[in-house]
């Protein structure tokens, strides 16, 4: 019976007001908040006093008044500084906002490429660390120890000032292993695949190939279950895909045979591509173009004479037609020269004016130009052509150009982060108990199946969280691009800061952008982490 209990007991059990944990907690927080707010107010008053002494130009509005609301209005002003590389069109008359966007895109470019390449390098090195070959594992260990124990900035400076800047000039560019990759003072030039009009047809065949491979996979799986015999499904599926892809390549090429061509006047006497080889040989005074390398080596012909004798083509800059023609002529061993114009009309105008002897463009454009007394020579086309870098004058044309600064920051970041990822991958794989591998072997799983089905899923759970922080580190370390002259977000922001004088606003924008990058990366990786997490009670 509750009404028999004395009332005084309840009040005596209550703690007094000044010893109640909840009240003390709130009081402590109120004091803490008061201290923080007081400090913020002090800082704020200092800041506004200092701003006033600077003239208050930090918060200038468009109409001349000063207000906190106009803090970011300076972003509309002209940037008036150039940025050496950009993914979007930019010139100094664009706004600060666009300049900062260029910087952010450059950082994103470095971050994405860096993350992909560093993961590949790190995984390969991590697995190499666990190789049974003592030499391989020792070399991997030295690489990881050396890179992890030296500061990133020292590595970047060494790469840039000690390696890339000291590359030979363009004419004497290095080619490692004889590949069409050129290392020179101007940076690294790599070949680039160029998509031709017939790529669309080939794409259909590729999709069909994937479909056929999937069907083969499924049917062979059913057959495996029915007969009980192991069938090498990946091999057959890959074979099916390859057959369709290769067949589709030739079909697409045949279909696009009339897509490309070049225009010459009738008087040149060239009606098919082979005539070009003959004509050039005659102009150079050779019987056959096969003699050209020998003639150059023996000195019978100088490079200048070859340049004078080759046919000059007019074409549109960076157009697929050029890549197609150069690839075809390269295979035939025919030397050529190019005059580049900004657009097809200018190219036609140049040909008509006599700047060149032949006009390269898609067949439709050539027919539409309807220039009298000229022949259109068809040039075969394949769905993809490789545009190789070539020295013309003082520059490389064709292919992808990596500036020395971009190459330095990318290679430096990939090497540095790759070493850390290697350690993470090694630790992840070693965290899987040996019994798992032994059980897998006892069950008769092949090595590939053991790795794919038993080791990797368990290792990935240990690898992903530290991998996230390495990706974040790579993104943050990309801000060191300012030391090697690559215009990433921080470099552009620093120039903006110096130019516009708005330090606080620029810092807030930069920090917010880096925080946004970090949040995006951790969001994706946390989602992936949750997906592969162990399903537990």
């Amino acid at each position: 019976m509750t009404d028999l209990a004395p009332k005084t007991t309840r009040r005596a059990a209550e703690t007094p007001f000044w010893r109640d944990a909840r009240v003390l907690g709130v009081l402590a927080q109120a004091v803490f908040l008061a201290v923080v707010v007081a400090a913020a107010a002090w800082i704020g008053s200092n800041a506004s006093q200092n701003m006033l002494r600077l003239g208050g130009s930090q918060f200038l509005c468009r109409d001349g008044t000063t207000s906190f609301r106009c803090a970011f209005d300076f972003l509309r002003l002209d940037a008036q500084f150039a940025i050496s590389e950009s993914l979007i069109p930019y010139d100094p008359s664009d706004s600060y906002a666009r300049a900062l966007a260029v910087g952010a895109l450059n950082t994103a470019k470095v971050a994405v490429l860096g993350i992909v390449l560093a993961t590949v390098l790190g995984t390969v090195t991590g697995i190499a660390r666990l190789s049974s070959n003592w030499l391989i594992s020792t070399v991997a260990r030295w690489y990881v120890d050396l890179i992890r124990n030296t500061p990133l900035l020292v590595q970047l400076f060494f790469l840039f000032f000690g390696v890339i800047v000291l590359f030979p000039p363009i004419r004497a560019a290095l080619q490692p292993f004889g590949l069409p990759i050129y290392l020179s003072q101007r940076g690294i030039n790599l070949p680039r695949p160029v998509v031709m009009p017939s790529f669309g047809t080939w794409l259909i065949f590729l999709v069909a190939g994937v479909g056929l491979a999937a069907v083969a996979w499924f049917l062979l799986g059913r057959r495996e279950v029915r007969t009980g015999q192991a069938i090498n499904r990946p091999l057959w599926a890959a074979l099916a895909f390859a057959v369709v892809a290769v067949g589709g390549w030739f079909v697409a090429a045949a279909g696009g045979a009339n897509n490309q061509g070049f225009l010459v006047s009738d008087s040149a006497g060239i009606s098919v591509l082979d005539d070009l080889a003959t004509t050039t040989a005659v102009r150079l005074g050779l019987v056959d173009l096969d003699e050209l390398p020998g003639a150059l080596a023996s000195g019978a012909l100088t490079e200048d004479e070859v340049e004078q004798g080759t046919l000059i083509f007019c074409g549109v800059k960076d157009a697929p037609a050029e890549a197609n023609l150069t690839a075809q002529l390269r295979r035939a061993g025919v030397p050529f020269a190019f005059e580049r114009f900004p657009g097809p009309n200018e190219a036609i105008g140049g040909y008509v004016d006599g700047d060149c002897e032949a006009l390269v463009a898609p067949r439709a454009v050539l027919m539409a130009a309807s220039i009298p007394a000229s022949t259109i020579v068809p040039v075969p086309e394949t769905p993809l052509r490789f545009s190789l870098p070539r020295i013309e004058g003082l520059n490389f044309v064709g292919g992808i150009k990596l500036s020395p600064n971009f190459a330095a920051i990318l290679i430096g970041l990939v090497l540095y982060t790759g070493a850390f990822i290697a350690e993470i991958v090694r630790a992840g794989i070693q965290s899987v108990p040996r019994g798992q591998s032994e059980a897998a072997r006892a069950l008769g799983l092949s090595e590939a199946q053991r790795l794919r089905l038993v080791v990797l899923p368990q290792a990935l759970r240990v690898i992903i969280p530290p991998l996230t922080s390495q990706y974040l580190n790579l993104t943050k370390n990309s801000s060191l691009a300012i030391a090697v002259g690559f215009p990433d977000l921080w470099s552009v922001a620093y120039t903006t800061l110096n130019q516009s004088g708005r330090a606080l606003q620029v810092f807030l924008l930069v920090m917010a952008t880096y925080l946004a990058f970090s949040l995006i990366i951790s969001f994706f990786l946390n989602w992936y982490n949750r997906r592969i997490a162990l399903v537990e009670r």
Partner: protein
């Protein structure tokens, strides 16, 4: 050798029992797995091409390597066939020649490594010049087609790399500081490690001396103005080179430690939060105020959907209040600690360094001047504190909940609980992580070079700009990379030893 001799005898006599079947070997390793056979073919081709290239370039060395490889491979194969190994061939069979692929890859790697090592030694020693006279160095290097390293630049600039512009007549102060630190460091492991010294006066004296070290080092390295013995130095000018690197790293770690502990405790704070009515009330008041003062006029001015949407920003205050309630239970301490840690960990160190140089002066009272060096030290401390806080939080989370509950059951107040039970365990668990943090900080001091303080990397950059040593680019970087590598390598080994010592038998 005896084993090989006996093996050969066995083979020649035909007396070896035939567990090794050649047909089976070929069938197993080549016919059964055509992909492997193709791979081996490709690998053999590549190895042959590379070996031929090297044979043409450096015949003697390559011939020696090929001979050694063939002989060791033969001995190992013999041992494998007859199941009789010497210790050496056993190691080779397990580690270098465990399969055909491994044997070929070993050959390739040895050729490449030897070529690389020879190239490096050529550059660093054979073709190098060690003279500190620029003219002699130029003459020495001009004799070679590709000149080697110019170490004279480093030797000449050694004092610059170590202490840069520290006044020569005050160099004794650095030596005294080093002597003091050495004198304290040597007895420390013994005095603090052995139980015999617990409560002894020696330990107390040592502790007091350690506590005095910051004061002593300040007096020696900065000095007092107007003093004759230790006149005041200007850190912005006088500190440089390795001295500045070590000062930044050590001060960074020491000063960030208390701040990191506070942040970690703050983030895990379990204080009861501000009551909901207070938070919602304040949020409502602020929202209404800003809606009236800024949104309404802005809606009238701007056109366009985006502009109007941006003008509705005060509604975000309500969202923030809800998040505050939900994620932090209204705990202000946890909220502010988390915000600080996440923001500082999400931005690059270089932004924080520049912020300290450019923005800190705006936040200080007008007229108050703080030296650049102190600003950089403050930035490094604040940066390291955030990372340290996360490490310590990991340690705090690793302590079993039973410890907290037992402390509460014993009636310990919160400060006592943390001081006597929680923090000793947590800190012991994270000492390896803290050493890793110190290594990272030691490397990160190089970023200070971009903010115009000349520490080790800054001095290295200046070396190639000197008229005597123009164009000497690589040697300074290689040298300071060596310094950093040696320092970090030893710290990492120490940390590994520490991990092993703490992990065994302590728990």
């Amino acid at each position: 050798m005896t084993t090989h001799y006996r093996n050969l005898q066995l083979v020649l006599r035909g007396a070896a029992d035939p567990p090794f079947n050649w047909r089976e070997f070929i069938h197993e390793n080549i016919l059964h797995t055509p992909w492997l056979a193709l791979w081996l073919l490709a690998l053999t081709y590549i190895a042959a091409r590379v070996a031929w290239r090297f044979l043409v370039d450096a015949p003697v060395t390559t011939a020696i390597i090929l001979l050694a490889w063939a002989l060791s491979l033969g001995a190992t194969a013999l041992g494998n066939i007859l199941h009789r190994h010497t210790p050496a061939t056993f190691w080779l069979a397990r580690n270098l020649y465990s399969s055909i692929t491994n044997a070929l890859v070993t050959l390739l790697l040895v050729l490449l490594l030897v070529a690389g090592a020879r190239g490096f030694i050529d550059w660093a020693v054979v073709r190098a010049s060690f003279s500190t006279d620029p003219d002699v160095a130029d003459a020495t290097l001009a004799r070679w087609e590709t000149p080697g390293a110019n170490w004279g630049a480093i030797i000449d600039n050694f004092r610059n790399l170590m202490v840069f512009r520290f006044p020569r007549e005050e160099t004794w102060r650095i030596w005294v500081t080093l002597a003091w630190l050495a004198a304290l460091l040597i007895p420390t492991p013994y005095v603090y490690g052995r139980a015999a010294f617990r409560r002894s006066p020696v330990r107390r004296v040592l502790t007091w001396l350690w506590l005095l070290t910051p004061v002593v080092s300040y007096l020696l390295l900065v000095g007092l103005s107007g003093n004759a013995v230790v006149p005041r130095l200007n850190p912005d000018i006088d500190w440089g080179g390795l001295l500045l690197t070590v000062i930044i790293a050590v001060v960074g770690i020491m000063a960030s430690f208390p701040l990191g502990v506070l942040l970690a405790l703050g983030r895990r704070s379990r204080l009861s939060g501000l009551p909901a009515w207070l938070i919602w009330g304040a949020a409502a008041v602020l929202t209404v105020y800003f809606l009236i003062s800024s949104t309404v006029p802005a809606l009238g001015q701007t056109a366009g959907v985006a502009g109007k949407a941006l003008a509705l920003w005060p509604l975000l205050i309500l969202l923030a209040a809800w998040l505050f309630q939900r994620a932090f239970r209204g705990n202000v301490v946890a909220l502010l600690s988390t915000i600080y840690i996440e923001v500082v960990r999400g931005v690059p160190l270089i932004t924080i360094l520049f912020m300290s140089i450019i923005i800190f002066p705006i936040f200080l009272p007008p007229g108050m001047e703080v030296l650049g060096t102190w600003r950089v030290l403050a930035a490094v401390t604040l940066f390291a504190a955030a990372y340290l806080a996360e490490n310590i939080r990991g340690g705090l989370q690793a302590i079993p909940k039973g410890q907290y509950e037992a402390a509460d059951a014993l009636g310990l107040s919160t400060p006592r609980k943390y001081r006597l039970i929680i923090l000793p365990q947590a800190l012991r668990a994270v000492i390896p992580a803290i050493v890793g943090q110190f290594i990272g900080l030691f490397k990160d001091t190089t970023l200070v070079a971009i903010v115009a303080l000349t520490e080790l990397l800054g001095v290295a950059n200046l070396i190639s700009a000197q008229p005597d040593w123009l164009g000497v680019h690589r040697e300074p970087y290689v040298f300071i990379a060596l310094i950093y590598f040696i320092g970090n390598f030893f710290m990492a080994s120490y940390s590994r030893r520490l991990e092993r010592r703490l992990g065994v038998g302590e728990r």
